[in-house]
């Protein structure tokens, strides 16, 4: 493993004022438990000591981290710095719901040390926001972005969702164009996924609505890519776009290249060496474990060589920069060019991948079927 790599710190803030029906991230609406949670979180930090040092990214995700007060956010970063070695120019991101944001709060957040804000806009269409069960309005979305800019954020990311039942290309492009008009440094455009255990997933399985067919999904995907590339964004991962590679999410990149990351809080996943482990997906169990002095870990897995290879392939091929053939050989012990020569030639001929400068890249059409590319 590449021990020279810096680690990423992910902190899961498992609280939401209301649950969005499509979301399968773990969260609780028990807001009064926040102080208890923070106590446990700081205890959990202490458990790890310097195992992951140094860190060059911190990501507060959720849940809804913007529910926390500036004081609570400050305590988190302070405790983080106390327990871990955070390098000086670390990328520190806060995920936020537009409804929670105002200019003075944003100024405090920046002051505390967050240098990147990722706002869950999802759509500029009131009907879509309603379908998605969001608690914010289009007006709140717009003012949150404007306030972030005014407060002095130079790295703003917006999350958008497309492929909503009944949505056509024109209405999606209305949202996309409005988003681009704010010149955010980063855009995540997710195709709506019907996660089985969510309320929306259940409605989908019950056949309550029809969703865009595969051809239309492909069109959404490709037109989004083309439009944003044309607007100056780099389509650097399946669902992620950055106005220059310096604005790509440094933290998220760690998930895709097997860099070490430490995940704290309920349901958070950690990875180091050949091990991945994850915490209880329940606030109560998490709290109970930590208070009892136990690690709040639900399960640990050790990756086999084959599992490493498969992950490296499917994760690497999600990114524009793709896979370095040399690194793959050294780190995962497989000479892809040798072992998969025929199929790679075929995929290149079909315009799904390209092999250049010792790297295996997906083309934009290849990116649309990355999960299958990994099965070669």
């Amino acid at each position: 493993m590449d021990s020279a790599k810096n680690s990423g710190l992910y902190i899961h803030i498992p609280f939401c004022l209301s649950k969005c029906p499509y979301c399968d991230f773990y969260s609780s609406t028990s807001i009064p438990s926040i102080p208890d949670f923070l106590d446990a979180l700081f205890k959990e930090m202490e458990r790890y000591g310097h195992r992951f040092d140094p860190f060059d990214t911190v990501y507060l995700g959720g849940g809804t981290p913007s529910l926390l007060s500036p004081k609570q956010l400050e305590d988190i970063l302070m405790n983080g710095r106390k327990n871990f070695h955070l390098i000086s120019n670390a990328e520190i991101t806060l995920e936020a719901n537009p409804a929670d944001l105002n200019q003075s709060l944003l100024e405090s957040i920046l002051e505390i040390g967050f240098n990147r804000i990722n706002i869950g806009i999802q759509s500029f269409d009131e009907k879509v926001l309603d379908f998605l069960g969001r608690r914010h309005s289009v007006r709140q979305a717009i003012s949150a972005i404007e306030a972030s800019r005014k407060a002095g954020f130079h790295n703003i990311g917006l999350d958008l969702i497309y492929g909503i039942p009944g949505q056509d290309m024109a209405s999606w492009f209305d949202t996309l164009k409005q988003a681009v008009a704010f010149s955010p440094e980063h855009l995540s455009c997710y195709q709506l996924t019907f996660e089985p255990k969510t309320p929306l997933g259940r409605r989908f399985q019950a056949g309550e609505f029809s969703v865009p067919g595969e051809e239309l999904q492909y069109e959404f995907f490709m037109k989004t890519s083309q439009f944003l590339e044309h607007a100056g964004y780099i389509h650097y991962e399946v669902s992620n776009f950055a106005r220059g590679m310096e604005y790509s999410s440094r933290h998220n990149q760690k998930y895709w290249d097997h860099s070490p990351y430490l995940g704290l809080g309920p349901a958070a996943h950690s990875f180091q060496g050949n091990q991945r482990w994850w915490n209880h997906r329940s606030l109560d169990q998490y709290l109970a474990s930590v208070h009892a002095g136990n690690p709040p870990v639900l399960e640990t897995e050790s990756l086999t060589k084959e599992q490493f290879q498969l992950e490296a392939l499917y994760l690497g091929l999600r990114t524009k920069k793709g896979i370095s053939l040399q690194d793959f050989k050294v780190r995962y012990g497989l000479d892809l060019l040798c072992a998969k020569q025929n199929i790679l030639e075929k995929l290149e001929e079909e315009g799904l991948i390209s092999i250049q400068d010792g790297r295996l890249h997906p083309t934009p059409t290849g990116l649309a079927i990355t999960d299958s590319l990994a099965l070669i």
């Binding site: 595969e214 999904q217 998930y255 990355t370």
Partner: protein, 599 residues
């Protein structure tokens, strides 16, 4: 000898042969009531499931008749399908009489007639028995008419029964005693015993089932098989009760078994005559034929590493099926396998099912073929049953294919549609007989290749199950033959190549292409499926690629879950064959073989 009766039950499929056999066994009291298991004679699972008898079996029933005498009734069960008509004929040759069983609701069917002819050829006493008279749809008067008009038998001699309900069983047993003649023969003469079946016993070697016509055989005798002059020393003789019962000897007129240290059933030829090595009979009993496979197909393991297991499975299977022949074969697409010969399509299906079930192997079979004959410009006349050995087209002077005579019985209302089907199947020289009111017998000569393709299913479907069918192989006739290849993304799938008549090439190729299209899952790129004669493309379908297949978000908590999903998919893909960069599931190969009853 005058207290012995050797008989068989013959019937069209599903007319109740096994049920009647069970009832006779039960009535004769050879088994206690509580141990009675339905259809004892059909002991293989596959026979029970399909409701047909594959192997012949025999059983001896002691019977105390109404005349106060004790009789020994030897019931020789026969296979109930056209693929096994030779085995049937040898079983019948071991009898003096038969029960010709007819379903009271369905009446006379094609195999009823075919079986009747076999019985008549062997000069047997024929007792018509109308079964299932308890059914609400039973029409006994109609069947009596058919016995008279269609079979030419005396309807007054017909018995009526319900094997299921146990009605009329005693009358049948009495008729066997009083109407079927006792066997004749000289117990002191030179031995002449007819082999009508052979089974493999893992502890004792081959159990030879035979009927002694002349002489007496006992342990210690040195015997000779007249077909190949092989000699063996008899170790044990006996008769069949529910299990084998050892006896001192078997004499003229008796039915029983012989162990003589014969290793495999393939060393025993059904229809062969056993005689004394020292004092042989003058000439063998008539009717001996070598097994002739008529349908050929290659069997491949889905996973190449299962090849050795498949080899062992076939070797073991062969121990008990002398009609099954095989040799090594290999395919570029499917790897190492075996070329196999079968008596017919049913035989093929049985072998496939038993190998898969009993040896837990996943296998693929290539498109079944008949055995073609070519005359080449150099004057040689090779037989070709494997498309892989199709001769160089320039060297071919002429091609010939086997023809059959098909006998089709059906209600008259289906005649038009059946004639159309037979024409489509290149049927010729038809004959039409009116058997009785509203019932016809249609006889066609047609290529065997058409029959093994999808004829039977379509005929059944057209006649809504009321039609019945039987055939016999006739001869070879000239045919304009071509080799049709199937290509997937330009790469030949050799296991799907077929030799066909040129007129059938295009529809056959197109259907194979369409079947593959239905079964091959969409992949990352377009898949072209083509049918070709040499370099000429005669059929084509394409499978469009999928365009979108990627998880929208993939962060810390998604990675393990997604990987597990991919691992599962990868495992599934491993079970497929990759040809021309295309993953082809086993179902696709099978689908090309399967008939299409929809059109």
């Amino acid at each position: 000898m005058k207290h012995i009766r050797n008989f068989s039950i013959i019937a069209h499929i599903d007319h109740g042969k096994s049920t009647l056999a069970d009832r006779l066994i039960q009535y004769a009291g050879v088994i206690e009531e509580r141990k009675f298991k339905d259809q004892i004679l059909d002991s293989m699972d596959i026979e029970r499931e399909r409701g047909i008898t594959i192997k012949s079996q025999a059983i001896t029933l002691p019977y105390h008749a109404s005349d106060g005498e004790e009789y020994v009734l030897n019931l020789i069960d026969t296979p109930g399908h056209v693929d096994f008509s030779y085995e049937v004929s040898r079983s019948l040759a071991s009898c003096e009489g038969v029960l010709l069983l007819i379903d009271a609701a369905q009446g006379v069917q094609a195999q009823t007639i075919a079986n009747l002819y076999l019985a008549m050829e062997n000069n047997l006493e024929i007792i018509p028995v109308i079964n299932k008279i308890d059914l609400p749809t039973a029409d006994v008067d109609r069947v009596l008419d058919q016995i008279d008009s269609e079979l030419g038998l005396d309807p007054f001699g017909a018995l009526k029964c319900s094997a299921k309900e146990g009605i009329g069983i005693e009358e049948i047993l009495e008729a066997i005693v009083h109407r079927i003649p006792p066997p004749k023969g000289d117990p002191e003469g030179p031995l002449a015993a007819l082999i009508f079946d052979a089974q493999y016993d893992p502890f004792r070697g081959t159990v030879i089932h035979c009927r002694v016509f002349d002489g007496t055989v006992k342990p210690g005798d040195l015997v000779r098989f007249m077909s190949n002059q092989a000699t063996y020393k008899v170790e044990e003789v006996g008769r069949f009760l529910l299990s084998r019962e050892k006896r001192e000897s078997l004499s003229a007129g008796e039915v029983g078994y012989i162990f003589a240290g014969v290793k495999t059933v393939s060393d025993v030829h059904i229809g062969d005559t056993i005689t004394f090595d020292e004092r042989p009979c003058e000439k063998p009993l008539s009717g001996f034929k070598e097994f002739k496979p008529v349908v050929f197909s290659s069997i491949y393991p889905i996973a190449p590493e299962d090849y050795e297991d498949l080899a062992v499975a076939l070797e073991k299977y062969k121990l008990n099926d002398a009609a099954f022949v095989y040799q090594k074969d290999s395919s570029i697409a499917l790897g190492q396998g075996f070329r196999c010969g079968f008596l017919g399509l049913l035989h093929l299906e049985i072998v496939q099912e038993r190998v898969e079930r009993e040896y837990d192997l996943s296998i693929i079979l290539s498109v079944p073929s008949v055995r073609y004959r070519f005359t080449l410009k150099d004057g040689s006349t090779p037989f070709v049953d494997n498309p892989a050995y199709y001769p160089d087209p320039i060297s071919i002077e002429k091609g010939e294919e086997p023809y059959i005579r098909a006998t089709l019985l059906m209600p008259e209302r289906y005649l038009g549609a059946v004639i159309k089907l037979c024409m489509e199947k290149r049927g010729e020289k038809s004959k039409l007989n009116y058997l009785g009111p509203g019932r016809v017998e249609l006889i066609y000569e047609m290529p065997l290749a058409e029959v093994i393709y999808d004829f039977y299913d379509r005929f059944k479907s057209i006649t809504q199950g009321y039609g019945s069918f039987d055939y016999e192989v006739l001869d070879y006739r000239e045919s304009n033959l071509v080799l049709v290849d199937i290509l997937v993304n330009g790469e030949k799938v050799d296991a799907l190549s077929q030799i066909v008549n040129r007129d059938q090439a295009r529809p056959r190729a197109l259907r194979a292409c369409e079947r593959l299209k239905e079964e091959i899952p969409r992949q990352m790129y377009k898949i072209a499926i083509q049918g070709a004669i040499g370099g000429e493309i005669i059929a084509r379908t394409t499978i469009s690629p999928f365009r979108k297949d990627v998880t929208a978000k993939c962060y810390g908590g998604d990675i393990t879950r997604k990987r597990k999903l991919l691992e599962k998919q990868k495992k599934g893909k491993k079970r497929m064959k990759t040809i021309g960069s295309v993953s082809i599931p086993q179902s696709a190969f099978l689908a090309v073989l399967k008939s299409d009853t929809d059109n």
